[in-house]
Symmetry: C2
């Protein structure tokens, strides 16, 4: 019997009121939606109707952006996604949290709690948080050096995994007749002592349904790729051309192999911003309408923010100011500097590489990239085509979709694009399991302390 | 017209499977209940049926206790209480979190998120977390010095309040037609620079339904009383005799006055452990059955743990070993020492004061105090009598109830004791508002930055 065809994974990125910076201007939903849970529960239910793998929430511990003109700020993701998990049954929930501005014990516990409450649907999107404003909320004058952030992140992940493993799966006995709760030999201190942290353990939450909650990582710098290929189950990445996507895909699989991992255990999921219409003309009209709300300054501003230069240094109808960008890039390449003011390496590289290669003006670039990711404007068939192409040509295992507006952009994707993918045999028609690991095709890891005990037993023979 | 009679407040303390250490042995609920949300949602719904003010979750960032014989560990409270809030409509949710092992920005945001999600029902129970095991999960070898913990707590609270105030109530305009989101002049950086923290702000969550989530404080040491009387809306305390309760009540109101506060804005709520039966004999039989499961070692152990000495140093039928206790107390009185191994000042004083005053053996003491709080074993009338007595004689504004077992102990309290309190006119018959502040009879505070602006405007005239 033939093995079932490879299936893609799809995440829905709930970025405020939409991936387009002017989505809130169209006011599809009441003005206080972002502070309630119903808005997010609704998008999650729509996504679950489309048998998507997960919903995703970006986050940072700071009020970034212009509060006068943008709906900034939002509920803390682990709290918000608890509410979403309770309103759904199958879909995964991916919470972003920073390794730079959290402690491993508290965060590992919160993610574990979410995994228990959701019945095995929790993931943590690991970020190191660039930008000085966040740093200034935590006693620093500026963000820690890039290499220090990633050094801390690697150690943080090591600890989180140890804590999640600290209760073996069968540690709890719960024999109330005899007053026995757990087998103390199967609940382990982790006694971690490293460069950035010392953590005793064990975690004060027993092992979770997924064994370990899913780890997602989104950094594309050397540090990000190193940490992601070593620890992550899924990589969210920004890739603007198929060739770049293929190169990144191959590189990350090779890196995973170098860490001794099966490369199939690392799922590569580029982002895709979508504006979908029944016809190409309708899609472009929708995009143009949103762009008109954002205005020229807004279009330039979203480019400027992600490459770390002032919007006043950009001319919409000229190429990027390469002399200034070379300065930023040189500084960023040096791992010992703080990378960009609030930006990320991946967004930076994606934008400038595309602009340089195709010699784009700022305005042309703004029509190719939105929310830092490749923008696809077109019919459901055209969206399905580009997903299938990337999926089948070694550039992606799945995608993180950023619709232009919510909820309409999510509804169009689920109701118009997903059926095409299903018909083409590359996306599930129903959920076949209840955990995010299952949806992603990942196995459930054993506790590392279980292995340790096995070794001890073998040595004792 | 006569003003309505003063009403008491009641919180339900969901301490694991019950306030009695052997509650889990009777297995009223499935063995995995503590990891699910239904168990907590069910107790919250029972409590809401009784128009109680709030449910309460104690917590610490460590696995404390003997995992072999006690069901230890649990879900993180802000996450868990999000699930509880969504299953209820009126009842408040009080999450315990440590000022010693959190950062103000992250925690203020999480509590604010819970306040938004619950529609104004969130409270934070502020603790400084004694004990070395927690410390060792955060890079320390032992708990910070007592006075340092409370110094940090005071500054932490100051910052949390500033962050909650950082968006004025009318900061958000949301005029999407004109692309205006907020009035930037009403969103304030806090620019806090203190001994323990530097925090820029503003918070990345707008102002919450309660203005500021309710602050609960439970420390009874000098540091605890100082911080609590200054910042808290409600004080949870352990008081074992009416006289002690009255003295503490008067002291805390005087302290509040000294901080320039209206003493009525500080609600004093002693804990009460309950074992309730239709007759006195039935109540005592229920308590004896639970005690038999705990055994003599268990009875001694719960005393030992709270006074910081080894269980092997206790003889059940002898008085407390005063020579050793004097050592512990002397060390504790010195504000520069770490107080007790894992215990709290309040529990320590409550137990030894009662034992000394009434010359109790360890066994006798164990029948007077459970889970560190005064134990009442009796009929619903007897329970109502002691609540009324304390409430009417200047010892309490309300109570934090710790039933012996869940859910039965909560059901008996709600169905048998609450109706008596209502008939006596000292407890509400229905909710008259939807926020916890309203239930507690507390006003909604203005943002401190609003006042600041008023001053500036006045000065500008």
């Amino acid at each position: 019997m033939a093995s079932p065809p490879r299936q893609m994974s799809i995440g829905m990125n709930i970025l405020g009121l939409g991936g387009h910076g002017a989505a809130w201007r169209l006011a599809e939903v009441p003005s206080n939606s972002l502070l309630g849970v119903e808005y997010f529960q609704n998008i999650a239910r729509i996504s679950e109707r489309g048998t998507l793998d997960a919903i995703f929430l970006a986050d940072g511990p700071a009020l970034n952006g212009n509060v006068a003109t943008n709906p900034v700020g939002g509920l803390e993701p682990t709290v918000l996604l608890t509410a979403v998990a309770l309103a759904t049954k199958y879909i995964g929930v991916i919470a972003t949290a920073s390794t730079t501005y959290n402690d491993p014990y508290n965060l590992a516990r919160r993610i574990a709690s979410l995994d228990h409450i959701s019945g095995g649907r929790a993931a943590w999107n690991v970020v190191t948080t660039a930008g000085d404003i966040a740093a200034q909320n935590f006693g620093l004058t500026g963000a820690p050096l890039h290499q220090d952030r990633y050094g801390r992140a690697a150690e943080f992940l090591d600890i989180a995994i140890k804590l999640w493993d600290s209760w073996e799966d069968d540690a709890v006995i719960n024999d109330w007749k005899n007053g026995v709760f757990a087998d103390a030999k199967k609940v382990h201190t982790i006694d971690h002592a490293g460069e950035h942290f010392s953590v005793r353990g064990p975690l004060n939450v027993r092992r979770t349904p997924q064994g370990r909650p899913v780890l997602v990582q989104a950094g594309s710098s050397e540090g990000g790729k190193s940490v992601g290929s070593r620890y992550a189950d899924a990589i969210f990445t920004t890739q603007t051309t198929l060739e770049d996507g293929q190169a990144f895909y191959a590189e990350m699989r090779n890196r995973a192999r170098a860490w001794g991992r099966d490369p199939d255990s690392l799922k590569i999921m580029p982002g895709l911003s979508t504006v979908i219409g029944s016809t190409e003309a309708e899609a472009h009209a929708r995009c143009d309408e949103l762009d008109s709300y954002q205005g020229e300054l807004g279009l330039a501003g979203q480019i400027a923010a992600r490459i770390g230069i002032a919007v006043s240094d950009l001319d919409l109808d000229a190429p990027l100011p390469w002399d200034r960008i070379i300065d930023v890039r040189a500084a960023q390449r040096d791992a010992n500097t703080r990378a960009l003011g609030g930006g990320s390496h991946g967004f930076f590289e994606a934008q400038i590489n595309l602009a340089r290669r195709e010699n784009l003006t700022v305005r042309q670039l703004s029509k190719r990239i939105r929310s830092g990711h490749r923008l696809a404007v077109g019919t459901p068939e055209q969206i399905a085509d580009t997903l299938e192409e990337w999926f089948k040509s070694g550039a992606a295992d799945g995608f993180n979709i950023m619709p232009d507006m919510f909820p309409s952009g999510a509804e169009i994707f689920v109701d118009e694009v997903v059926p095409l993918l299903r018909r083409r045999g590359i996306f599930r028609t129903e959920y076949t399991g209840t955990t995010l690991r299952h949806h992603l095709g990942l196995s459930r890891p054993k506790s590392q302390y279980e292995d340790e005990e096995d070794c001890e037993r073998l040595l004792a023979v």
